[in-house]
């Protein structure tokens, strides 16, 4: 009857389970679908041989089967080698199955099992499987061969025979529902129910069609229609091969798309980063040149003028340093290295005032957005002053950068018993709601930021820094109305300050995060 149940290695089980399968080459649950199929092939062969041997049907059946087999070979070998191994295993058993038409049942079953074993071993050797894995496979196949031989002797002909075949397939296949969760649950840490559902879904989707084919084959054989019965087997193999090839192809396409996206994002980042460095670099080169021209002109050096140029030069240099620091942080985080923090007491009000002043100096010249600050003096947090200044600079800088002419940017600092909150509000271009969840992703830039210089690392870096301080960052935005960014930093607890002055901030982050409502609910705008 059945070429059923060649899956089990196939699609439905969740990725982590797959990982366990493939990474450790743990023996698949005893009597898994693929091997059951081989055993049933042997059984059918054994059952067919005494019926077919004396009649002319044998030559017809063999011819049709050979054609089907040839078609299978042609179709499956169209695919690249890495898609073929599983198919090859089943292919290898087919010649033995044909052989089985002319030899006694027990011998046929043994031959089919041995053929499958040979195919499996050849594949395992190609894949570089360890001896342990091969030994397990040999043991498993031996059991299958013995089962096949036993069943071949035991089963009688007639409709009972058909029922027995279908039943055996179902029972053996059902074994997966029991053995998979039993073996895989402790191995993968997933819930047994979860695995059972995955197996059931796999069986229903992938193997349903094969069960149907197997059943058709059995019914055809029952009616002495040997040609269709034999044809069913290669058909099932082709179906399986196509299914597998399709899955692998989809995986490959998906993986390639992810890789291409990553490369494109990285390229855009490099261009943006070079732009961010190039502007202050223009300043460094330009101011140096201006001073050089001044000193070479032969006029008396103007001390005041020179000092103001040096001041501008150092501001340009500071901006380059900020960008380089950001890129370094991102690179470190991407490589999975933690950031090194220089923790101390930081006057956050002074930081906000300082950032706002530097922005306003720049912005006023262009009649851009002025920055209004409402920050009572002396609000102190514990943290890395350089990085916190970068966070504030980034958020205020964004607000100024994305605000139309003259609309105000407002920065406030407040504190309650637990949190120090920095709120920066603008009436700028805004960010579309569906893009908001991505703004903290490295290299991501909103569609409304098109044409505006930026690397897309600022907010992502800000989030990382704030969270490593045990804080939160939240953003709310309406396109055309403006954006509000809130940064919450844990307020210093007086006793903690006295006893552990240099405790890294993120050590106490967890319980703060649990006791406090999400910053979004704190409601800005």
């Amino acid at each position: 009857m059945s070429a059923a149940g060649t899956a089990g290695e196939g699609g439905g089980i969740e990725p982590t389970v797959h990982t366990v399968f493939r990474a450790r080459l743990w023996p698949q649950p005893l009597l898994s679908a693929g091997t059951v199929a081989v055993a049933l092939l042997a059984l059918i062969a054994a059952w067919l041989s005494p019926l077919a041997a004396p009649t002319d049907d044998l030559s017809l059946a063999t011819t049709v089967a050979a054609i089907g087999l040839a078609a299978t070979v042609v179709v499956t070998y169209q695919y690249p080698l890495h898609l073929r191994p599983r198919t090859k295993v089943y292919m290898a058993s087919v010649p033995y199955f044909l052989l089985a038409a002319v030899v006694p049942p027990a011998l046929a079953a043994t031959a089919a099992g041995a053929g499958a074993l040979a195919g499996e071993l050849s594949v395992r050797r190609q894949l570089g499987t360890k001896a342990e894995g091969i030994a397990t496979e040999v043991g498993r196949r031996t059991v299958i061969v013995l089962c096949g031989a036993l069943l071949a002797h035991a089963v009688e002909q007639g409709w009972l025979h058909t029922v027995a075949l279908v039943g055996a397939a179902l029972v053996l296949e059902a074994g997966d529902f029991v053995t998979c969760p039993l073996i895989l649950a402790p191995l993968s840490g997933e819930s047994p129910l979860h695995i059972a559902v995955a197996v059931a879904r796999d069986a229903a989707l992938v193997e349903g069609a094969q069960y149907l084919l197997g059943l058709l084959g059995a019914l055809a054989a029952e009616q002495n229609l040997w040609a269709p019965a034999l044809l069913v087997l290669p058909t099932a193999l082709v179906y399986r091969a196509l299914k597998q090839a399709q899955e692998l192809h989809a995986q490959a396409v998906g993986a390639r798309r992810v890789a291409e996206d990553a490369v494109r994002v990285r390229d855009e980042f490099l261009i943006a980063a070079s732009h961010d460095l190039r502007t202050p670099l223009t300043g460094v080169i330009g101011y140096t040149e201006l001073m050089q021209m001044h000193l070479e002109s032969g006029e008396t050096p103007d001390r005041e003028w020179l000092l103001s140029q040096i001041d501008a030069l150092s501001r340009a240099g500071a901006r380059m340093r900020t960008t380089v620091d950001e890129i370094t942080d991102v690179a470190q985080l991407q490589m999975g290295q933690p950031l090194e923090f220089h923790v101390g007491l930081v006057d956050i009000s002074a930081v906000v005032h300082g950032v706002a002043t530097s922005m306003t100096v720049g912005a006023r010249r262009l009649a851009g957005a002025p920055v209004e600050v409402d920050a009572p003096p002396g609000i102190i947090v514990r943290g890395d002053s350089g990085r916190l200044a970068r966070v504030v600079g980034n958020i205020v800088g964004n607000a100024v950068k994305y605000s139309p002419l003259g609309t105000p940017v407002r920065a406030t600092v407040t504190q309650d018993e637990r949190w120090v909150t920095i709120t920066v509000r603008d009436q700028g271009v805004g960010i579309p709601a569906d893009e908001l969840p991505h703004v903290f992703t490295h290299f991501y830039r909103a569609s409304t930021a098109l044409g505006i210089a930026g690397t897309g690392i600022g907010l992502a870096g800000a989030k990382t820094i704030v969270e490593q301080h045990g804080g939160h960052i939240a953003i709310q935005s309406v396109v055309g109305e403006g954006t509000t960014v809130e940064v919450l930093l844990p307020r210093i607890v007086e006793t903690a300050e006295a006893t552990v002055p240099n405790q890294p901030a993120d050590l106490c982050a967890q319980d703060h995060a649990e006791k406090t409502p999400a910053p979004q609910q704190k409601g800005a705008q």
Binding site: T279, P280, L290, V361, L366, A367
Partner: protein
């Protein structure tokens, strides 16, 4: 000392301050603006040369130059577009501008370019 008015259109304070310092030192009158406001500024000031940045948040340099060219009051003012070399190559070829300065530029380049267009007026 040369005379003439230059309108600097850039949203970056470093660039604006640098160009101001360089051009004022040469005796030019310098005004700065950014984004769409630059169009009105050009109409009011009637500068001799416009130095225009390509990347600005609200209205980019390509759009500003297009509008300046469409307006008969500003259509004849020379425009020098400034940006990174690779962006200039990609974009400035389709723009109706008179000259290009690739960032980072030198002050000598800027002064020579401005002077050339002053003389051309």
């Amino acid at each position: 000392m040369p005379h003439g008015t230059v309108l600097v259109v850039d949203d970056d304070p470093i660039i604006v301050a640098l160009l101001e310092a360089a051009l004022v030192g040469q005796g030019y009158q310098v005004h700065s603006s950014a984004n769409g406001a630059a169009i009105q500024a050009a109409r009011d000031l009637q500068p001799d040369v416009i130095l225009l940045d390509l990347m600005m948040p609200e209205m980019d340099g390509a759009e500003v130059s297009k509008r300046l060219r469409e307006d008969p009051q500003t259509a004849m003012i020379p425009i020098v577009v400034m940006s990174a070399a690779e962006r200039l190559r990609a974009k400035a070829t389709e723009m109706q501008v008179n000259d290009r300065l690739s960032k980072p530029f030198t002050i000598r380049d800027v002064l020579a370019t401005v002077e050339r267009w002053m003389r051309a007026r």
